[in-house]
Symmetry: C2
Subunit: 705 residues, 2 copies
């Protein structure tokens, strides 16, 4: 015990020399000093990670699984990611007779693997800088809205051209608001099967109580296999399993597809995030969590049905709270203000960067403009999904209604001019999404959340009112009765009907006189108006941000990693603890002894009996570890890889103190949370029978300490 | 920061070589190996602490302040203890115009000190072994009840003889149930004045939220002065202030009057504590806390009135919860069972200790006997104070009623045969106690708690019923109305009336036809029956425990510190942190930076503005520290003294993990919580104007780091 403290403290001290800021692109990784990387602990030559000639390398073993990250761990398509990232497959297959959610699942052979119908796995084939091509499409003196449309159209054309190959997904990724546009060409595999998931009580051990927290004891991993043409996919690159796991001071790379960060924002934009965006999320999601809990209390079906949405809401809620606290803790806004001022003062004297001052002021003016209708826009954004992977947190009724209406309208246009979500190539996944959401629809919760939106909308000031809601609920009387009428009079919750609706024209839909479809058309009109505003603002950003950011980068005089944008990134780090507050030090590893210590026999601390039994023989197996990797949402399931390119763990969270990391990196508290591969090996060898899987993973036998 | 971790960890490692179990009596301290004590860090010769020839020494600078511990810090009667130990003086003097509770108090001169009317300070003059004298009073073949009475009577005689000197308080202290009886002769000072108390927001910083917790940031100290014949008391011994405070690894002695521990109990007795005593306290006090909060909600007067009782209940509640958790954590019962079995097996083979086996079995039989009426006895014990310093947690109505009735009955007997509480020498303090409790009486809370007792009593099985309650509330109907009649028809809440009642005979009292007085007489009869049972059990314990304990001690073959019994004890320790759970290390010191970190502007984390201002200049001042001293309740206010006999801090709590320490010492988590003297020096020098006091304390200037 004492030796553990001492060891940990020494390594805290030693490792403090490094700072791990930066979610580097593969290209940027090659620009980092290779001697420095070697000193940090990278034993492979950087070119093994990414060969600039071929435009690929070991990093390409990092996959994107429907918004999560993951990594191949065998040449036969086996990949590892988080438990929650493959949870939808468990949901598809769980029955009262065979409750794979509760019991977990180990495929006894390849044929026994569980197919997942809604997951897709992609991995990059190439990255091409298309900045010049994209910007060439913008007419001289275009308005910001036109500028945005031109960029979108050109991007869509590039994507369409790229996707002519089969099993291909492409996208044009925007870096820091337009400093660079990159065409990402990725292989897509849609036949994804589940090979292993631990019992939920292990995969979600600690549940919402421990979410964002340390010390952590969650076995948040699952293993899938990707198939191509019915055969296991042969990945050129994969991360062999290291039986040694990750120990204090060890070098680790965390690879993945981080979603969105905001470090390139100006102070005024950060203030908007803190004071409006996060503040309102705390308020609204806090209420919705309560409503979901109240409406499902004592109802087992309801509880299961809303579980996934509730978890997602709780996650957003806790995140928003943490962001606000983190802003305070790190004085992030004050620091950004002062950094901005330095760049402004410098740029004003640079002939090549003088325009950055105007760009900066332009961004501030845009924020002021947004504030005029901010509350209205926020509420609308809760009821309509803005991208292919996001399901809005609002009621399914409005999500279904607006999706059906929008789809009908968009499908009347030529494919390339449509909103991207409704292009022909995306229609099947829109259908899947609407189908999948049926599993999460529980009428009493859904109605309560709609009532909350209605009451909030009715409380807005005149210039921010939502007309579609006013039309039905205008005087604020009998809200619940009116909501009951909407739901009782609609067929949109019937899966067959909804599927049919998705193929109908606007005329056919109107002929149904379905009140939720009609409300969907109404809301869609307002959402289009909002989208038009957003197009303008996006255009403004694409015009101004690159000017400002180029000044920031020039002023820094060294490489700066761009904000996360769901593209492949490389973060190097070390295993280390931290001091969350006066008088407390968190050591960087937890063990099975801690799982037992937390066990209460009740959710979320109800460790399975076989684990408790096995722990009596061996309780020093490492469960989770901390590192100072630079991560964010989307890094869920990211492989944590040692300096030899071997898998030592899987990232699944950040610590609470580090949530505002999205706005600024603070080395003192920037810690991501990983599950150690040794926990998985122990579960498969000593607790459950996972011999076949262990053999394929090259593991087997007890994990090393 | 990093250096702090490293340093702490090194010292954790170094200090782990020591184990600090034992609340040693002054005499036992002299029996410890002086070379060992020197190695631990004691620089003074042990005879400076306690001179066996004179029967006194530096340890005698440790005082008892109405149940708390404290220590003289100047030759002129100045003593330091905890904030909560002198809180009653603040309560006496606080007015809306001069709210010394909120603002704190610093006496500008001696004449400005605030007199306290209900506090007494004692310090030991001599300890005399009177075992033979006491036991000589027990007739051959006495019943256990008679045995107990004989011991009590002889003890009372010895005390009466001893107290013939003025300003003297004596008692016969029983060690481990009768292994030894010691006559403690103490000087008593009743003129106690307040010289300094910090604002409540410092003295109680963290409040109930942080109670029993680490990291801690409470400035739980206050300074009083004892007077004799109107002049500052000249103490022969005192602890000079050390400006260096206590740092990781430092040797500290914690001196004081620990109240009650249970390490000498057998496993069966410990099981009764865990499964009945603590379990029922969690249940009952948890309900009463809720009732007090509900009945005072939104009522400022009520909130202030019940504050002290609520705090005390919350403390007992949290303690009971911690004891149960600690039993589990430390497998205390299982270990005691196995230790008992070793002694039993050994004793069975020893001619001189064979009787210990029967004694052990006799103690077990007694526990079984107690269980028959356990619930009845527990409820009764909540409404009647069993010793001079304890106020029962039940309603004041029953406390006043039973006290008045019992007093009338007892005062009819010759003084030396009375229940000790009602002997002539104690009557004034009984009066004071009844008077003081007026401040804590808030009718709605009091009625709600009585209703709770009534409902619980009515739910008991036939053989455990409380007859007095059955007589009034027998059928369980209209409980609240009947309670209202009791309160509305009684004059017992009128201080003048109650004072008068305390001087009346039973006949005079009955002539009042006061319903609460009558209920008091009724309950008193049942309490007497319970007392008779208890006398028997006490006699059983005094007969059997010494036999058993002598076997335990002989089996151990080394000194064993007796259980705490409110006599002066010496505990040696070191400043060190601990690992409360997997993944977490607590460092042993907190700083002013942590006070600022916790500050929310709302109770209990509402640091005063002057402190926040001063913290901007200096935030590394040490606030609290952990040591592995062996403490319990009663050690509140214990001086923490370095190896040179200088005061470095004041003990005020134990950590949550260590509460079950009362049943067994676990070096891994046995930590007491102290405030560092440097925090006090900083407050008096840099935050508030305490120059005069600093000068007298030999301090002044900024504290050293």
């Amino acid at each position: 015990m004492i030796r553990r403290f001492l060891f940990a403290a020494l390594l805290l001290a030693a490792a403090s020399a490094f700072a791990a800021e930066g979610k580097w692109t593969p290209q940027q990784m090659l620009e980092l000093d290779p001697v420095m990387l070697k000193k940090q602990g990278l034993e492979l030559p950087p070119s093994r990670l990414w060969d600039p000639k071929r435009g690929t390398g070991l990093l390409a073993a990092t996959v994107n699984v429907s918004g999560c990250s993951g990594g191949f761990i065998s040449p036969d398509g086996l990949f590892i990611t988080n438990h929650h990232c493959l949870f939808s497959i468990l949901q598809e297959h769980a029955t009262p007779q065979n409750d794979v959610i509760t019991n977990g699942f180990i495929a006894s052979s390849r044929t026994a693997e569980l197919p997942g119908h809604s997951l897709r796995l992609t991995m990059p084939r190439s990255f091409t800088d298309v900045t010049a091509k994209v910007l060439a499409a913008v007419p001289a003196n275009a308005s910001d809205a036109d500028r945005n449309h031109a960029i979108e159209r050109r991007s869509n054309e590039l994507v369409a051209e790229c996707e002519k190959r089969p099993q291909t997904r492409c996208k044009v990724s925007v870096f820091d608001g337009g400093v660079q546009y990159v065409l990402v060409d990725a292989q897509e595999l849609s036949d994804i099967r589940l090979a292993y998931a631990p019992p939920r009580a292990i995969g979600e051990y600690g549940g919402e109580t421990d979410n964002w927290m340390w010390p952590r004891h969650t076995g948040d991993f699952a293993i899938g296999r990707a198939y191509l043409d019915g055969k296991p996919y042969k990945s050129e690159f994969y991360f062999p399993i290291s039986k040694k796991g990750a120990n204090p001071g060890d070098f680790v790379m965390v690879l993945g597809y981080p979603g969105t960060t905001y470090r390139s924002l100006t102070a005024a934009e950060m203030a908007e995030r803190r004071d409006l965006w996060f503040a309102r999320r705390v308020d609204v999601y806090g209420e919705w969590i309560r409503l979901m809990e109240e409406t499902t209390k004592g109802n087992a079906d309801g509880t299961i049905t809303v579980a996934s949405d509730l978890k997602s809401l709780a996650n957003r809620f806790k995140n928003a709270e943490g962001q606000i606290a983190g802003f305070k803790r790190g004085s992030i806004l004050e620091k950004q203000q002062s950094a901005d001022e330095s760049v402004l003062a410098w740029a004003a004297k640079q002939p090549t960067h003088r325009a950055a001052v105007d760009a900066y002021n332009g961004l501030r003016a845009m924020i002021e403009e947004q504030k005029r209708t901010w509350e209205h826009d926020f509420l609308l954004s809760q009821i309509y999904g803005t991208n292919a992977s996001s399901v809005p947190p609002g009621p399914k009724s409005l999500f279904f209604g607006t999706s059906v209406a929008r789809s009908a309208i968009e499908r009347q246009k030529p494919d390339e001019t449509r909103d991207a979500l409704y292009m022909q190539r995306n229609i099947p996944r829109l259908g899947e999404r609407l189908e999948r959401e049926q599993k999460n629809y529980f009428a009493p919760s859904d109605r309560a959340i709609l009532a909350s939106i209605v009451r909030r909308a009715l409380a807005l000031r005149a210039e921010q009112r939502i007309a579609s809601i006013d039309r039905i609920f205008g005087n604020g009387a009998n809200v619940d009765a009116k909501i009951a009428e909407l739901y009782d009079g609609s067929k949109i919750f019937d899966l067959t009907e909804r599927r049919a609706m998705l193929a109908e024209t606007p005329e056919q839909l109107h002929a149904r006189h379905d009140p939720l479809v009609e409300l969907g058309f109404d809301l869609d009109r307002e959402i289009r108006e909002l989208s038009a505003h957003r197009d303008t603002w996006d255009g403004t950003v694409s015009r101004l941000r690159p000017v400002w950011r180029r000044a920031v980068i020039a002023h820094a005089g060294k490489p700066i990693a761009p904000d996360a944008n769901s593209t492949l990134r490389f973060s190097y780090a070390h295993v280390k603890g931290y001091a969350p507050r006066d008088g407390v030090v968190y050591t960087p590893q937890t063990t099975v002894a801690g799982v037992v210590e937390k066990h209460t026999g009740e959710e979320p601390f109800d460790a399975p009996k076989p684990l408790l039994e096995a722990a009596k023989k061996r309780s020093d197996v490492v469960v989770d570890f901390l590192a100072d990797a630079d991560t964010t949402g989307g890094n869920s399931g990211s492989p944590a890889v040692n300096g030899r390119g071997e898998l030592v763990g899987v990232n699944f969270d950040r610590v609470w103190e580090n949530v505002a990391n999205d706005f600024g990196y603070n080395p003192a508290i920037a810690r991501n949370v990983n599950v150690d591969i040794r926990y998985l090996l122990w579960l498969l060898s000593d607790v459950y029978d996972g011999k076949a899987l262990l053999k394929e993973m090259g593991g087997g036998g007890a994990p090393l300490r």
